[in-house]
Amino acid sequence: MPKQTEALEHQHIVRAFDEELSRLTGAIVEMGGLAERQVADAVRALAERDVELAAKVIETDRRIDDLEESIDQDAIKLLALRQPMAIDLRMIAMALKITNDLERMSDYAVSIAKRSQRLSEHPELRPIQQLPRIGQSCLSMVKDVLDAYVERDADKATAVWHRDSEVDELYTSLFRELVTYMLEDPRTISSCIDVLFIAKNLERIADHATNIAEKIVFIKHGTQINRPRHEVE
């Protein structure tokens, strides 16, 4: 791969363009921070059976949706008015894709919060104790990928990308445990299914973190935008 450009250190001749770009990046970082917080809170609400915290997670969704709309609108405006090229083009085009990933993450956090509210009405199931572990793995991926975005660090992003299999393995092992549990005591089936969906949601959140990692690598190097999983597996 040819040595890549590091155009970000230079300023644009038109300073207003620099301001618009940093505003766009800032909004994505804000949206990312909110989504990360939502995931963290959803996991905590679940572990601590905190119904109010779960309600807060559900409420935050509105702000995420508003941010997504305004980032998308700004990105379209920049494309139309500035005719960006090279790294600017890659950044703006990827902004459109990254907001989509963040918005999905937030939706999964909301879904976890809703299920945690329901679960808190029933006696605690043992397999639930595994969820915070999956939650932590997936949360650290989200956190690291957002750091990689802020720092434009493609290596850090690639490292996040490789960590996705950890979460997948945790999910698979929890899945097996839940099946055994349900076979032993069918009365727990409904709660077990909630736990299973929560685990699935966490696994999907990790997938979106890896999607964002791919976009960061593209912004930096301009190579592939979507990297198929089977390339390493």
């Binding site: 791969m1 040819p2 040595k3 450009t5 590091e6 155009a7 230079h10 300023q11 644009h12 001749i13 038109v14 363009f17 005719q83 960006p84 090229m85 090279a86 790294i87 600017d88 083009l89 890659r90 190097h221 301009g222 190579t223 592939q224 990297r227 390339e231």
Partner: protein, 271 residues
């Protein structure tokens, strides 16, 4: 990481898989007196494609373009070193053994400002043919019409061929100049900022014309307008301070330049 998966090109100005080389520039240096304006340029120009030369003012892009039809011969104390080979006959067109008139028969040029001769529309186009000894009225008529059609001007002027060329609008005058350049069946047409004096509509029609001409002639275009280079060309060369910094397929250069200088220029970060 594996190579980029390239989908089917979506642009009209796609890059053909195995392009033929029309011209090859090798070790080209050019001097205005003691000032070296071009520094060791190596580059190929592909046949029947549009190649754009971009770069900031003074980078040497117009100087390079003008080498192609020996325009510099008219300026005193200029000097060429190296070669621009023209194929298929493999002749070095900047060699002093080669008559510049011969070169200009094969490589014609369209300038920044429309510059029709103070003659009728018909005579503007027929001029080059007459110089080359075409006398028969029937042949002249046929070739003038073909050139005007080639420049997408025929329908607008066919009933007023005897009117002065200077009476046309700016965009029409520029298309008349393109017809004049096409009349002698050149192998390469050079464009030096062909739309910078035109409004957006006339610009669009010239760009459309350039793209359609590329099916039958090789085109080199110098432009300050990067979006124009992106729209019309298959290949783009970025020049800076007399050097060729980067050259490649336009889609690559505009989305993923390899050099910092190119990236800075394209993104408007040039200091």
């Amino acid at each position: 990481m594996s190579a980029v998966v390239t989908a089917v090109p979506f642009a009209t100005q796609s890059v053909s898989a195995d392009p033929k080389v029309k011209s090859r520039i090798r070790g080209l240096n050019f001097y205005y007196g003691n000032l070296q304006a071009l520094k060791n340029i190596d580059m190929v120009v592909y046949e029947h494609a549009v190649t754009a030369l971009i770069g900031p003012s003074g980078c040497g892009k117009s100087t390079l373009l003008r080498c192609f039809n020996r325009m510099h011969d008219l300026t005193p104390h200029t000097r060429y070193e190296g070669e621009i080979r023209l194929y298929p006959d493999d002749v070095n067109i900047v060699s002093s053994d080669i008559d510049p008139i011969e070169v200009r028969m094969r490589i014609s040029m369209v300038f920044q400002k429309p510059n029709p001769f103070p003659k009728s529309i018909y005579e503007n186009v027929a001029y080059g043919l007459r110089v080359r000894g075409v006398k028969a009225r029937s042949e002249l008529d046929g070739r003038v019409e073909a050139a005007l059609r080639g420049a997408a001007l025929w329908e607008e002027v066919k009933d007023r061929l005897e009117e002065p060329g200077t009476a046309l609008s700016g965009g029409q005058q520029q298309r008349l100049c393109i017809a004049r350049a096409l009349a002698t069946d050149p192998e390469i047409v050079l464009f030096d900022e062909p739309t910078s004096a035109l409004d957006p509509i006339a610009t669009a029609s010239i760009e459309d014309l350039i793209i359609s001409m590329a099916g039958s002639v090789t085109i080199l275009i110098v432009t300050h307008n990067m979006q124009q280079a992106a729209r019309v060309s298959s290949y783009t060369a970025f020049m800076y301070l007399g050097e060729l910094v980067e050259y490649g397929p336009t889609t690559e250069l505009f989305t993923r330049p390899r050099h910092q200088r190119t990236s800075d220029y394209l993104t408007g970060r040039f200091g």
